[in-house]
């Protein structure tokens, strides 16, 4: 599903976000990415959905090379990926409902279908009653949950979540991880970047550890760069 072939990403300022990382994630896997602040977790995720392109190396998603995908094709890749950004990244001019409905809308779903999907997603994160609020009128944790609802609304084949529970209390965090697990059980590949050691402990998923841009540990080390079987679900 997702392959990194010796991927390096260097920034204009000289910072190295990712340093010669090779890895392979199969369809249906549940992956944690961890590592200290600045280790390259967000950079890795950004390379998957094409927000950054690799300086050297190749990123393959679903067998297609993201780095060499023409710009006009990128949106279609992204529609199959649900992303929870580290900074929530909501559209400020749009209400909570409109934010979550954005992808269903541009995909041309009927109004009824849109409503159904959006409210189901908002309900899952406990915000069904806040559809008319604007992001600025929400607390930090509520914004984060809207972003999670948006990422999951269209049942994407890949879910990327960057520190999705940084602003949430332990009970809510647990509920959110249940949502990710459910998506994973439906067949989605889920990649979560997190600092939270407790989340990692609780779920028996594969863990990739980054340090200063390098992949320094993979809980299923032996198969990091070779084809692997789908991991057993929890």
């Amino acid at each position: 599903m997702i392959q990194f072939l010796r991927v390096t990403r260097r920034f204009a300022s000289g910072q190295v976000g990712l340093d010669e990382v090779s890895l392979e994630i199969d369809a249906g896997e549940f992956i944690f990415i961890t590592g200290e602040s600045g280790a390259g977790k967000s950079t890795l995720l950004a390379l998957v959905y094409g927000a950054l392109s690799p300086t050297t190396g190749n990123v393959l998603v679903n067998g297609r090379n993201v780095g060499s995908l023409p710009r006009s094709k990128i949106p279609y890749l992204r529609r199959t990926i649900g992303v929870v950004f580290q900074n929530s990244g909501l559209i400020r001019r749009k209400t909570v409902y409109e934010n979550v409905a954005y992808l269903p809308q541009i995909l041309g779903l009927s109004a009824a279908e849109q409503r159904e999907k959006v409210y189901a997603a908002l309900d899952q994160v406990g915000l069904a009653d806040r559809g008319d609020a604007f992001p600025m009128q929400l607390s930090g944790g509520e914004q984060q949950r809207v972003a999670i609802a948006r990422a999951l609304v269209n049942e994407p084949a890949i879910v990327l979540a960057d520190e999705p529970t940084g602003n949430l209390d332990p009970e809510l965090s647990e509920r959110i991880f249940e949502l990710f697990t459910a998506a994973n059980e439906r067949g989605a590949t889920v990649v979560v970047a997190t600092h939270d050691p407790h989340a990692i402990e609780r779920l028996p998923a594969r863990v990739l550890r980054l340090h200063q841009g390098q992949l320094i540990a993979d809980s299923e080390r032996q198969s990091a760069t070779s084809p692997r079987a789908v991991v057993a679900e929890p």
Binding site: L52, G89, R93, Y102, G108
Partner: protein
Amino acid sequence: MTWGQALAYFLREAVKSLRRGWRVSLLAVFTIAVSLFLGGAFALLGYNLGRQLESWKGQARIVVYFEPATSDELLEREGRALREHFWVNHVSVVGREEARRRFESVFPDLTDILDDSDAEPLPPSLEISLTAGARSGREQVIRDRLERIEGVRWIDDDRAWLSRLESLVRVGRSVGMVLGALLLAAAVFTIASVIRLTAYRYREEIAVMRQVGATELIIRCPFYVEGLLQGLAGGIVATFGLRLLYAWLSPDAVEDGLRQAVAANFLPWSSLTLLVLLGGVAGTAGAVLSLPREVFGAEPELD
């Protein structure tokens, strides 16, 4: 999305954005309205001054004086020949009799002297009024033609002042055209800058839309439609402004001659439609030109 859905979506988004940012939209509309209003004002004045000039030209005359001995037949013949020319509107033949009558009315005290002598010394003349077709460039041609007439003594051209006027209007027009072009550029530029800044204002949200899977078309079109709507609105406001200017120039506040000169007629419907369309084009062009490369086109940066 189907095309119909997409169009409805673009329009809805554009209207929503206009409503939410109505202050800024008003700015854009006002700015383009001012530009088009000024352009339109030049057009209005130019149009009317042009017509006025034509009518003054119609009143202008060239008088060709002949040798006193010239016969009335020659005069008549030359008059007929001149009437063939497209630049001649009307020729009146002032024969010796007529010339004398005029002389008497001017210098009644001299009448006796003229009566006493047998000579007929007063020069007969042809008074030529010109058509609208006799443009300024033709002056030399006309003079040449007249000087070739047999027995001509001298040519009195009433058009010294007229030509000054014409020059003025000509300069006014060419300056107006330069200014008008500048103004239109300024209008496009302003709309562009307003939309550009609006795009900057929303750059994070645009980045989010893009990262969620929106195509460039879906992101850009609402801006284009917004520019178009602002431009059309600006054009309509400018039209009303021109109507007000026209009303202001028309009434008794202004001497009648002046009113004739600059505000005799309002612009025709075709020009007004053109003005509004120009607004729409300028607005759209502004939107198309403006979307900043930092927001559109550059490699999206990690937020």
